[in-house]
């Protein structure tokens, strides 16, 4: 009797569920805390259910979905040993994020490239950025949502009116971000627009014009004093010492993070302190298959709108990772920002999940097109 070989998907899902279960059971055995037992069962079960049922219901891309849910679960297990209540709240945030992911997968089937789509998305994106500029004490950060809206607007305008028109919301968005002092986000947006223009338009004249405009914006911001001083501060050295303090495999002690100037929303610090640098590094390397899969989805999209939007989502998502890591390890004097999906900020997590949902939706559209082609080819035979 032949033994059925298990697929990489089942191995990944099984290993991820087992790891999350053990990582939550280990502190529960020490404390005997009911909340940790609840988390162990709830997180593992919810992760398995979300990997199976919505993926089948909405034909979502299983690799992107599984990686997104696993990284969300890593955020929960990083908080659980020290603060079970915070881990429970993070579980609720991840649940909202999972819903946002499915909404994103459905949105992509509705929106089409048109002036209406471009107008609404660029208006909302610029409104969010301008609102953040005018009202300084907003309870939630809306930068992530604004960036995604600007990418949708860019894709729609590029398809309908070409590269020159598509560049305009990106330029205005960069100006608004620079005025708020969000240099990393402004740089990510400008680089994304340039790369999208290069990949989707390809005209040297447009590329050069866009490059000159963005370079002029950053030069002007530096001259007017809107760019922060890029120097390594105490925050950076504290960040580096926090990351390496637990050693390669973790200290084995439950460490309560000191209330310092480190960004509280970043979960890379508790993760590194509780599980060590090797576990953290290997977990962060999981961004690589996520980005590669997103790029593959963009490359196989049939319509230019979907291809540009998928590539934009991947770029917006992935360009922040090296910036956050280089700042966290005190390599570059950039502002400390949380990594995607490893954050306890609900709007950021929801928008990042929504971005991955858009990718899942485009992937499902690609699969549907391929299945239709296969059906037509079968009929032709």
């Amino acid at each position: 009797m032949n033994r059925q070989k298990s697929s990489p998907r089942f191995r990944f899902v099984g290993a991820a569920a087992l790891l999350v279960l053990l990582a939550l059971l280990a502190p529960a055995l020490r404390e005997g805390d009911q909340r940790l037992y609840l988390l162990a069962g709830g997180v593992t079960g919810a992760m398995l259910l979300c990997m199976i049922i919505p993926a089948r219901l909405f034909s979502l891309d299983r690799l992107i979905l599984s990686l997104a849910l696993y990284l969300g679960a890593v955020g929960i297990i990083s908080l659980a040993p020290a603060n079970p209540d915070a881990a429970l709240i993070q579980l609720l945030r991840c649940s909202v994020g999972a819903v946002a992911l499915m909404i994103g997968a459905m949105i992509i089937r509705i929106i089409t490239p048109s002036m209406l789509t471009a107008g609404i998305s660029s208006f909302l994106g610029l409104l969010l950025l301008a609102g953040s500029l005018l009202v300084s004490d907003l309870p939630f950060p809306f930068t992530e949502a604004a960036l995604v809206l600007l990418i949708i607007s860019f894709s729609s305008l590029l398809v309908c009116h070409g590269g020159t028109a598509a560049m305009i919301p990106g330029v205005i968005g960069t100006v608004l971000l620079l005025l708020q002092g969000m240099t990393v986000e402004a740089f990510v947006l400008a680089l994304t627009v340039l790369l999208l223009l290069w990949s989707a338009d390809g005209r040297l004249g447009i590329m050069l014009a866009a490059f000159v405009v963005f370079a002029g914006l950053f030069w002007g911001a530096a001259q007017l004093g809107y760019l922060p001083a890029f120097t390594l501060t105490e925050e950076h050295s504290l960040s580096l010492s926090t990351l390496v303090s637990a050693g390669l495999f973790g200290s084995g002690e439950t460490v309560l993070l000191p209330e310092t100037a480190l960004p509280a929303s970043s979960l890379i610090y508790p993760l590194s302190e509780n599980y060590g640098l090797i576990f953290t590094g290997l977990t962060l390397l999981l961004y690589l298959p996520l980005m590669l899969r997103g790029a593959s989805v963009a490359g196989t999209a049939r319509s230019r709108f979907h291809a540009v939007m998928a590539l934009g989502c991947v770029l917006i998502f992935s360009l922040r990772i090296p910036a956050a890591l280089l700042a966290a390890f005190s390599v570059l004097p950039l502002p400390l920002t949380p990594l995607p999906l490893l954050t306890d900020s609900l709007p950021d997590l929801a928008v990042q999940m929504l971005t991955l949902g858009l990718l899942c939706g485009i992937s499902s559209v690609n699969e549907a097109n391929l299945a239709e082609d296969a059906h037509l080819a079968m009929l032709a035979k």
Partner: protein, 267 residues
């Protein structure tokens, strides 16, 4: 709730730190293997679907030295035609600009052509610069596109759904009449089903004596078989007129892609 002693927990904690690192490594390997597996499966699917993602082909009717006639391009659902190598359809001919026109497929309509400003484009003999802005130039199966000195003909995969030419059923050949008999269905005739004997009902007494509907045996005598053509070509008659026979062809030459398109999508 259940909890273990500190000594046991210390052992569990020490083991788990190494175990979690091992699990993280395995997860990374599994994710990369999954990614590789998906790409391999997709490549295999695309190998059996060479036309996947394309709506048809553009066949060059007349081009240039760099673009000889009968060259064909696969057409994606949307893209840019121009002389730049970064275009989706590269037409290196005199008069074709770097980015000449944009095209996109609309289901049920055809290939919508949007020439860039100042780019002379002719579809089926109608110049799009002269056409009103309200008109949307659409190419259908068999439409000819003229850009610069190049003339391209569109061949769609879904040809019969997107053509502006009337589709007529082929008339039966008048020269060779022996292929069909009066009993046989012919093109254009409604299908007549032959009467079929019902199976005997086993509930009826004596059903074994009833005739059983079996297929008639194949006749070995062609003269008595009415299903064969009435006028079978006579070998003697054929040998008497050897001049009328078509010349015996040797191995068929390899057909060009454009010829195969003509046959596959002939109207």
């Amino acid at each position: 709730m259940f909890k273990v002693s500190p000594e046991i927990y210390k052992v569990i904690n020490t083991a788990s730190r190494y175990l979690f690192a091992f699990f993280a490594l395995m997860l990374l390997l599994f994710a990369l293997a999954w990614l590789y597996d998906e790409r391999r499966k997709r490549r295999e699917r695309l190998r059996y679907l060479p036309e996947a993602g394309n709506i048809g082909e553009m066949v060059v009717i007349s081009g240039s030295d760099q673009l000889p006639a009968d060259t064909w391009f696969p057409i994606p659902r949307e893209g840019i035609l121009g002389s730049l190598r970064s275009c989706d359809l590269v037409v290196p001919c005199p008069g074709v600009r770097a980015r000449h026109l944009a095209f996109s497929w609309q289901d049920g309509a055809g290939l919508v052509i949007k020439p860039f400003s100042g780019c002379e484009t002719i579809v089926d003999g109608i110049s799009l610069m002269d056409a009103g802005k309200s008109e949307t130039p659409v190419m259908v199966h068999g439409s000819c596109l003229q850009v610069g000195s190049a003339v391209l003909r569109l061949q769609l995969l879904s040809a019969l759904e997107h053509t502006n030419r009337p589709f007529a059923a082929p008339a039966p050949s008048q020269e060779y009449t022996g292929a069909f008999t009066a009993q046989q269905p012919q093109p254009g005739m409604p299908f007549q089903q032959e009467p079929v004997l019902p199976f005997p009902d086993p509930q009826v007494p004596g059903y074994m004596d009833q005739p059983y509907p079996i297929d008639p045996p194949l006749s070995s005598d062609p003269a008595g078989d009415s299903s064969l053509p009435e006028s079978v070509p006579d070998a003697a008659a054929a040998s008497a007129a050897p001049a009328e026979q078509p010349p015996v062809q040797q191995a068929a030459p390899r057909r060009k892609r454009a010829d195969r398109w003509k046959e596959d999508f002939s109207e």
